[in-house]
Symmetry: C2
Subunit: 272 residues, 2 copies
DNA sequence: AAGTGGTCTAGACCACTTT
DNA sequence: AAGTGGTCTAGACCACTTC
């Protein structure tokens, strides 16, 4: 139920419009329960739009309804919808284009490619790397992975191992753990056949869109196997990047450990 | 001069207010020069407020004028000032507090401490480290440092070397290069005597406020001297963090090379 | 009670894209 | 010409803090 940015029991007392009503169901407990979950109207609208994005009512790359249409749908003013979409755009869930409309963000646009890959050459322009897949197998989740993916130890997961080659040079070794129930039918062949970024495949083929991630960075020595694959001496310093990726609603869906060779490339970060 | 979000020659044709006028001086070239520098009114207001922040009209931690006062001062509506301040708040230049007003952001508030120090323990809550200063000397800028600081090779710079101790354990070795003309009179003693974060000192004692920074991260082997200072074996992997910090107007004022021990701590980063 | 930022609405017009 | 998002204004009321 939608509630105004006013004490819930108070009559709206608006300037001229009708009271905004979502699914008007009389709550069994009239006062306290509503007050506890209060948030401004534009955030409630934002939550409703996010829910539609999550449920796939509008797919990545597609146009969502115009601000006026959404205002009519939710029975609020255009300005309120506008503020909701402003926040969604700031969080990169949607992209606004003047004169055209608002689109669901997608990992297929080049613009998004380097949001989740911060490794850039020390000199020269960023180039998107080539993937070489080493392995893709089903497994039962070890307890640590299960904890991070919000699963139970022993639940089905998929493990992918791959090399990233920048300008034909092996530079990153990734080990990727995916929630098995969300990525049924993922095989090394499908990965290898796909053109473009992995997150684009996840979004198009499995309906799982990566929204945000947290990374923990460390410097670690290369173990013998890794050193061999990356063509560096044993114990050479590597940048270790431990990532947990989330889809809508901050639900974790991927755990990833990357080992980066940073002699001619570096991880770039902006502090604001 | 302030211009509306309309073609500059066109009369404003506003709904009821007076035409917004800044310093109303007839431009010598009436048309073309204005059209080239066009930006929406709220961005012009934002630039004017930023200019006042830069010039110290309101100092870090202080209250800036209310939205209504600024609206009167710039002869625009409160909504336009509001949008300008919204962006300044999003960029962490100011902090809004309902019922109190809008404050100039400061490195003295604990909230800001970890925006520029991403090293956190693998387990347990972040604790602010203790500094031990090893050196603070005046020098002529090497060409590489001069380039990054927008100086000429040979211009005056100040070099600071220090250790950061987390829970009494030496964990970070920093080498810091500062624009010499901005930090006259900085000594190791003043640094050692100061309570709180270094950027707080810079802001209070030298009127230089750090706004944003870019960092380049790599894994590197510890050289003998560094290994000794950080208590790690020679060639142990260290996280190297090369930072350039900027004040208002994206003017670079600090270059910093940090070497982090990441065995019990890690560098944390959010991707969005 | 007064003042501040926060929310919500309404309406006008502009800039841009597509039809 | 029509439709979209972008800007700007005005006014009302709410939430919060201080006097």
């Amino acid at each position: 139920m939608l509630t105004m940015a006013t004490h819930p029991q108070t009559p709206p007392a608006m300037t001229g419009a009708e009271s905004p009503i979502g699914s008007l169901r009389a709550p069994s407990v009239p006062t306290a329960s509503v007050a506890a979950t209060f948030s401004p109207l534009y955030r409630q609208i934002k939550a409703l739009i996010t829910q539609s994005l999550d449920q796939g009512e509008w797919k990545p790359g597609e146009l969502i309804p115009s601000e006026m249409e959404l205002a009519l749908r939710y029975k609020v003013s255009q300005g309120t919808v506008r503020k909701a979409i402003d926040e969604l755009a700031a969080e990169n869930l949607v992209v606004r284009r003047q004169g055209r409309g608002t689109f669901v963000a997608t990992h297929h646009e080049p613009r998004a490619h380097f949001r989740f890959l911060r490794l850039v050459p020390d000199d020269g322009d960023p180039k998107y790397p080539e993937s070489r897949f080493l392995e893709c197998k089903r497994m039962r989740a070890p307890s640590e992975i299960a904890r991070l993916l919000d699963l139970k130890a022993g639940d089905a997961v998929i493990v992918v191992r791959r090399l990233l080659l920048f300008e034909s040079v092996a530079t990153v070794l990734d080990e990727i753990w995916l929630n098995g129930s969300l990525f049924k039918g993922l095989t090394a062949e499908r990965l290898a056949d796909y053109r473009g970024p992995m997150y684009g495949l996840f979004e198009t083929e499995f309906g799982v869109r990566m929204i945000e991630a947290t990374e923990k960075l460390r410097a670690v020595p290369a173990d013998p196997t890794t050193a061999e694959l990356l063509g560096v001496p044993e114990n050479a310093p590597l940048l270790s990047v431990d990532r947990v990726s989330f889809t809508y609603g901050s639900r974790p869906v991927e755990v990833r450990r990357g080992l980066y060779v940073t002699t001619r490339y570096h991880y770039e970060n902006e502090l604001g």
